[in-house]
């Protein structure tokens, strides 16, 4: 084994019922290297990581770790931690109702000589760990009091403090805003200096080029190759991931149309939800794609939620198609022709233990009511149609949705709403955790919906994709609607508006 190599995996093969998830995949990680693991949804990135960390039991292949004789096989994340592999997942897996310090030391609490937990010492140590990473938190506070970004940092701090040689970051940036991403990168570079090997899974291409040294590409469970960042520029990387040359991502937007004359779809006056979004006025016209921009926690999701009734608006009035309406819960909004794809897929999107078919027809069925069950043949037809339309990768429509990869789950939720044929569709981060090819598909779909006279509200952390698809944008800051941009949208203009500079 090479001196610097900390982890090698050779010929890893793994099958799920009906799907070959990985076949003969190689992976090499060196000391002090940030190594991007790239691929489309369902390419096998998460599966490979789960193999390395002992969650999945691979069928063939072997893994070696520096300093350990012979092949290593982990059977649990605990095993993996013992050989120095720590993982921080896409969705933070910590205990929100414990303090930051408790989360850092859970399962390995320092003991006093009486065999009780040494609270003082671990609070002190925790504070030092967080300070070293340059993150200002009060470690005695409950974790849930902090933003998702901080929670993620805590997860990383926990991993790092456990003396890891290999740190796996599975899409850590998908719920962070730009500033937070920078902070994370700083931490990553610091760890790199210390000689930790980092495996970085992300869908954001620019982030790969910002921090990574090496790239390993997977496609459909196959190993495509290992490259240095220099030899694989963006376009080539995308081509390697998709297995074909990418048709142009940039120009998918049609001509801009003035919608202000068309019928009013939604009109909010002084709508607000106490604690999350301050009173706002907003008019949305039929056929528009309206973007909501802002940093994470700026109230951009909450604005949408207060319209949809996911968070019941406390004040203000809402008119839908020029009729004043009262929405107290989502089903009311649905009956008015709305739909909402929420940003937190795991918590508010998928029903994990139900099948793909059931997940797709759920909203339509809910609209129909409990006693008007959709005939099975109709359910099958709808499910098949959308699996085909959105090319959802699943063994069958009776597969449990939790067995699908994140991006495919997202497509199922999208299908759920398309099936209800909404007039006004709110898409909150529809492209989060989704590969480049599908992102383009979704953006095209949004424009197609708008072309059919539907109205779409599009919320995303990626300004570029909003600029491409939206014809108007609302900017949120600290729970307040601060600006509305129309005309020629550019990333720069939007960024300035978000930051608060005068236009």
């Amino acid at each position: 084994m090479d001196q610097d190599v900390v982890l090698t995996a050779r010929g890893i093969t793994m099958t799920f019922p009906g799907v070959k998830a990985l076949s003969n995949v190689d992976f090499t990680l060196r000391k002090g290297e940030i190594h991007a693991l790239m691929g489309e949804n369902g390419a096998g990135k998460s599966t490979l990581i789960k193999c390395l960390t002992g969650i999945n039991d691979y069928e063939a292949g072997e893994m070696h770790i520096a300093g350990i004789e012979g092949p290593v096989k982990n059977h649990s994340t605990r095993d993996a931690q013992n050989v120095g592999i720590s993982t921080v997942y896409q969705e933070v897996n910590l205990c929100p109702n414990l303090s930051v310090a408790e989360n850092l030391f859970i399962g390995r609490e320092p003991m006093t000589k009486f065999g009780t937990i040494d609270r003082k010492s671990y609070n002190k140590r925790s504070q030092k760990i967080m300070d070293d990473l340059g993150i200002s938190v009060d470690v005695t506070q409950n974790l849930e009091n902090y933003s998702l970004a901080i929670q993620q940092m805590v997860a990383i701090a926990r991993a790092v403090d456990m003396d890891c040689k290999v740190l796996i970051l599975d899409e850590p940036t998908s719920s962070l805003d730009e500033e937070e991403v920078e902070k994370l990168f700083k931490v990553m570079r610091m760890l790199k200096e210390k000689g930790v090997g980092i495996i970085f899974v992300t869908h954001f291409l620019e982030q790969v080029y910002a921090v990574c040294d090496k790239i390993t590409v997977l496609r459909n469970g196959n190993f495509v190759g290992e490259f240095t960042v220099e030899e694989l520029p963006r376009v080539k990387l995308v081509a390697a991931m998709m297995g074909k040359d990418l048709d142009d991502l940039a120009e998918i937007k049609g001509e801009s149309v003035d919608y202000s004359k068309s019928e009013m779809e939604i009109s909010a006056k002084g709508l607000a939800h106490v604690g999350t979004v301050k009173p706002f006025d907003l008019d949305i016209h039929k056929g528009e794609v309206i973007g909501v921009g802002g940093l994470l926690g700026s109230g951009r999701s909450e604005l949408a939620r207060s319209i949809y009734g996911a968070d019941r608006a406390n004040t203000g009035t809402l008119k839908v198609k020029d009729k004043e309406v009262k929405i107290s819960q989502p089903i009311d909004a649905m009956n008015l022709g709305m739909g909402m794809l929420p940003d937190d897929r795991k918590a508010e999107g998928i029903i994990g233990d139900l099948t793909v078919r059931e997940n797709i027809i759920l909203a339509l069925q809910a609209k129909n009511g409990m006693f008007k069950r959709l005939p099975k043949a109709k359910q099958d037809e709808i499910a098949d149609r959308y699996i085909d339309l959105l090319s959802i990768k699943t063994a069958s429509k009776e597969t449990l949705i939790k067995q699908l990869s994140g991006g495919n789950q997202q497509k199922c939720i999208l299908a759920r709403w398309l099936a209800t044929n909404p007039d006004f569709l709110i898409l909150d981060e529809p492209t989060r955790g989704i590969d480049v090819g599908t992102k383009t598909e979704i953006q095209k779909l949004i424009l197609k919906l708008a072309g059919e006279g539907k109205t779409v509200m599009f919320i995303s952390s990626e300004i570029a994709e909003m600029v491409r698809t939206c014809n108007r944008m609302v900017i949120m800051r600290d729970g307040e609607k601060v600006n509305e941009l129309d005309g020629d949208l550019t990333e720069e203009r939007v960024m300035k508006a978000i930051a608060g500079g005068e236009e």
């Binding site: 996911a310 819960q329 989502p330 089903i331 649905m334 909402m340 929420p342 918590a347 508010e348 999107g349 998928i350 029903i351 994990g352 233990d353 139900l354 059931e358 759920l362 909203a363 069925q365 809910a366 609209k367 129909n368 409990m370 006693f371 069950r373 959709l374 759920r416």
Partner: protein, 363 residues
């Protein structure tokens, strides 16, 4: 070669059949009976023999161990229906069902006999009023539990603990601290016989049929499971999560009322302190034996029903084996431990690994 693959396919199908373990448990209990009968020189199949016997009080009736199990297991089977739905939707259990059975029976008998009367031969109100009253009382209790759990967000165990302890006492209040005897043949019908068949079996069958048809013809099953798996996501998708949880408790209470009626009809009286005693435990156990996760979500109604009758089969078997009533719970506990253990994930995983290794060795 082809038959081999077919066989393998069939085996995996059987292995993935959700009812496999409940059915195996039931068969195990039956097997004990057969072996015991054979060992003691009785006809080994006597467990399965059903005969028509003449009795002085009830005329010609069906007789046999299976009939006895189906008859005695009726109340738990009825309770298990509601309990399954409650567990699925709220990831909690309704521990008040036994007490609610008692309260429903007390309310019914109090009306039939008149307040303060401890024994009557004449019904004070028409029978149907009493029956509806029992069902109403059950549903009312269910609604109370449902309100606490769904709308006030109280943990199911705590919420139902209230009626668990209070319902029996309320029943005693209604009956003026008496055991009310309704010595009228018409009241004994629900615990008696319809032609040769014990009425409780018929009532249980009707309840099962109603629930099965409802689940089949409406989307209730999917709604309940969806809410149980992820109530937040269900709400966003347009389900009224709270109302659905409320509904399951209401149904559970209603069935407790039915079970209370049957139980009290068997003894044609309302014995507040004893009707439905510990039945909540059997109902919860039935749900667990049926392979349902008490963590909510996916449910399997057939499993719960088989579970309910398995519990009764264990009891009946123990009596047949000559175990005394006082010691029966010990043996019951041992059997339950075994059945629950073979369904536990680590043990399942162990067997799966074993069979995998066998497959590898073969290859």
């Amino acid at each position: 070669m082809n038959t081999d693959r077919k066989k393998a396919h069939f085996l995996t199908k059987v292995k993935n059949w959700p009812l496999l373990l409940p059915v195996v448990s039931l068969i195990l209990v039956m097997a004990v009976n057969i072996v015991h009968d054979a060992a003691t020189g009785v006809n080994p199949l006597s467990f399965f023999i059903i005969s028509l016997n003449e009795t002085t009080s009830n005329g010609t009736i069906l007789y046999g161990r299976i009939i006895d199990i189906l008859n005695r297991g009726s109340e738990v089977a009825i309770l298990a229906l509601g309990m399954t739905l409650v567990v699925s939707s709220s990831a909690g259990t309704d521990i008040s069902v036994g007490s609610v059975m008692s309260l429903s029976a007390s309310f019914c008998c109090m009306l039939l006999a008149g307040y303060g009367v401890s024994s009557t031969n004449e019904l004070a109100v028409p029978l149907v009023v009493g029956v509806l009253a029992a069902l109403f009382m059950g549903a009312l209790c269910g609604a109370f539990n449902g309100t606490l759990v769904a709308y006030l967000g109280i943990q199911p165990m705590v919420a139902t603990l209230i009626l668990f302890s209070a319902a029996r006492a309320i029943g005693l209040l209604l009956c003026n601290d008496l055991i009310v005897y309704v010595r009228n043949d018409s009241y004994g019908y629900f615990g008696g016989f319809t032609g040769p068949i014990p009425t409780p079996i018929i009532i249980a069958a009707i309840c099962i049929a109603i629930v099965a048809i409802t689940l089949n013809k409406t989307s209730m099953g999917m709604y309940i499971q969806s809410v149980g798996i992820n109530s937040k996501a269900s709400r966003i998708a347009g389900l009224n999560s709270k109302r659905i949880i409320f509904l399951t408790y209401l149904i559970c209470g209603l069935f407790a009322g039915v079970a209370g009626l049957v139980n009290s009809s068997r003894i044609t009286s309302a014995d507040s302190n004893n009707i439905g005693l510990y039945y909540e435990m059997d109902a919860i156990l039935a749900v667990a034996l049926g392979g349902n996760s008490l963590g909510g979500g996916k449910f399997n109604l057939a499993g719960s029903i088989i579970g309910a009758y398995t519990i009764q089969a264990i009891t009946t078997t123990l009596y047949a084996l000559g175990v005394s009533t006082d010691q029966a719970p010990v043996f019951k506990a041992i059997i339950v431990i075994i059945i629950v253990a073979i369904q536990a994930p680590p043990i399942k995983a162990y067997f799966r690994k074993k069979s995998l290794e066998k497959g590898v060795a073969k290859a």
